[in-house]
């Protein structure tokens, strides 16, 4: 049971829920940038565990299923064909052994997830199958997928809802991508950071009202925001302390940096904001050149939205599991 990578796409890597618990050793969490999309892809193939999926970036890979498989695509809308037959996203699809899945470019957004039933069964490193491209931890030292890579798939029982073999067959239902993928740009909720009050007056105003552009230097470690340079009232000399995904740092250049999934575990730049956790998947779906703006959120609002989203996601995961169990 395996998959062969025929073309790697722009940047494709294995990702799961990441490896929490090792930051004190200098090891970050990594993991899927758009967590809910990754979870839904796993749910759609009936994976009970938090299995690794392929995270594709802007242009997806082409790969061959050496055996029949059950797959699902979620996240950014992408052109997908199995043996030249277009297949829908946000649903479950049977693909025959020997078939080739070709993923093209993304119409919107930046990251698409491909899950397979049984998961990509590479050896976990520090409890996770995520590739930390920056720290070089994970399958094959955490590198991106390459042409010729062979990824084993975990063994599983057939899915009741997709009984029988044969051709490329998607289910007759699919999920509404909304609200899990946002087609329109809305401001991201931002909490005040520890050093927000030390920005000068015009920088504070610009942070809430102004537009930034996501730089092409952005990656899984950080999103660099071009635009009006932000300034502190006076320079701050800080000593290094723990850093987090979602933190908006201000380096001396004045161009803020939003730390992402592969953020280093420590940093010494002023922290001017923290992107609300509920909006991190939307930040992950922005592509270089996209506009980024922020609106101020309180911790209470951020916690309430996070908890509401989690409830909604849990309900959906349960519904999917029930429907997949039906013959």
């Amino acid at each position: 049971m395996s998959v062969t990578i025929l073309k790697p796409g722009m940047l494709s890597s294995l990702q799961d829920g990441g490896r929490p618990g090792h930051a004190a050793l200098g090891v970050g969490r990594a993991g899927a940038m758009d967590g809910p999309a990754w979870q839904l892809a796993n749910a759609l193939v009936g994976n009970q565990q938090a299995e690794a999926a392929i995270e594709c970036t802007l242009v997806g890979p082409s790969l061959r299923f050496e055996h029949a498989a059950v797959i699902a695509l979620t996240g950014a809308p992408i052109a997908a064909h199995v043996d030249n037959i277009p297949i829908p996203m946000w649903t479950t699809c049977h693909v025959p052994g020997g078939s080739v899945l070709q993923l093209g470019g993304m119409a919107h957004g930046c990251r698409t997830y491909l899950a397979v039933r049984g998961g990509f069964d590479v050896t976990p490193v520090l409890g996770s199958r995520s590739s930390d491209l920056h720290a070089r931890i994970g399958h094959e030292h955490g590198r991106a997928l390459r042409t010729g890579d062979i990824l084993p798939m975990g063994a599983t029982a057939p899915l009741p809802a997709l009984r029988g073999g044969g051709d490329v067959r998607p289910l007759h239902w699919s999920l509404d991508p909304q609200p899990w993928f946002a087609f329109e740009t809305r401001p991201l909720a931002l909490l005040r950071g520890s050093h927000w009050s030390q920005l000068d007056e015009s920088s504070r105003q610009y942070l809430w009202g102004g537009h930034f552009i996501l730089s092409k230097d952005s990656n899984r470690t950080a999103g660099r925001l071009d635009g009006h340079a932000l300034r502190l009232q006076a320079p701050l000399e800080l000593i290094s302390e723990a850093a987090l995904p979602g933190t908006l740092q201000l380096p001396p250049s004045g161009q803020p940096i939003a730390l992402l999934a592969e953020a280093p575990v420590t940093g010494g730049y002023p922290r001017i904001g923290q992107v609300a956790a509920v909006d991190l998947p939307r930040l992950a779906q922005l592509r270089p050149g996209d506009t980024v703006c922020f609106h101020e959120s309180t911790l209470d609002e951020a916690l309430a939205r996070l908890s509401a989203r989690q409830q909604r996601l849990n309900q959906l995961l349960e519904t999917i599991a029930q429907r997949l169990a039906q013959v």
């Binding site: 090792h22 050793l25 996070l306």
Partner: protein, 236 residues
């Protein structure tokens, strides 16, 4: 010790305990003592110690209070109670000895460092091996330890032209700090020697050789011993 701690909410699942804002052995010792204590009493928290602060990551859905209290308030109360009876004196640090081959191909910047300090190379080695160091924190890369305790006389500026590939095991000085590169990394610190030990191994039970709070000493070895130790490390 708990009355000196400032609590900062960093994110929905993150609370920072600030003990101070300077790089100081005594402050860092408080951080290590708190880390050890919380690790024992609230093991569900992820603790990330730094020079003068300690980050706690937690599950906000578990710490949310029934009475509408913030998870951060609940957690802060629990942490504050827990740290009230921390006895700093009882923490005995682990002592780690790191063999280093100084100078030559392993420490290409040793002569520059010596010139910059107004010492000869042997005096730099003597001062570096006399030092009694503490691991203040790990960061920058997996297993990279920031050490406190460098002889102020050995403080030298970082290189103006950082290297793209610093060899694994390089022992270096950057400003008033000294550290060891656990793997091939870009870096601007001055390289004075190299250790044959593996600092980080994801397959080991304890992936990082060094942990925050460890006491560290450097021991000078010659090139032959270095190669011998390197072979032993590779055979393991």
């Amino acid at each position: 010790m708990e009355q000196d701690i400032q609590y900062e909410t960093l994110a929905e699942d993150a609370l920072l305990l600030r003990f101070g804002d300077r790089i100081e052995l005594a402050l860092n010792a408080q951080v290590q003592a708190a880390t050890a204590h919380l690790h024992n009493h609230l093991p569900e928290l992820e603790c990330v110690p730094a020079y003068a602060s300690l980050l706690l990551r937690f599950d906000p859905s578990i710490w949310a209070g029934a009475d509408g209290q913030h998870p951060h308030q609940q957690l802060q109360a629990a942490v504050s109670t827990c740290l009230r009876d921390t006895d700093q004196a009882n923490a005995v640090p682990r002592e780690m000895v790191i063999p280093v081959c100084y100078g030559g191909e392993y420490g290409p910047d040793l002569d520059d460092v010596a010139a910059s300090c107004g010492l000869d190379a042997d005096a730099v080695i003597a001062r570096h091996t006399t030092g009694d160091y503490r691991v203040a924190m790990l960061g920058f890369a997996p297993g990279f330890a920031y050490l406190l305790g460098l002889d102020p006389k050995l403080s030298v500026p970082r290189r103006t032209d950082p290297r793209q590939r610093v060899p694994a095991g390089s022992v270096a000085i950057g400003g008033s700090q000294t550290g060891i590169y656990p793997e091939i990394l870009p870096g601007g610190w001055q390289l004075i020697g190299r250790t044959p030990l593996h600092l980080f191994d994801v397959d080991a039970n304890n992936p990082s050789l060094l942990a925050a709070g460890d006491r560290v000493r450097f021991r000078a070895v010659d090139a032959e011993t270095f190669r011998q130790l390197l072979d032993e490390a590779a055979a393991r």
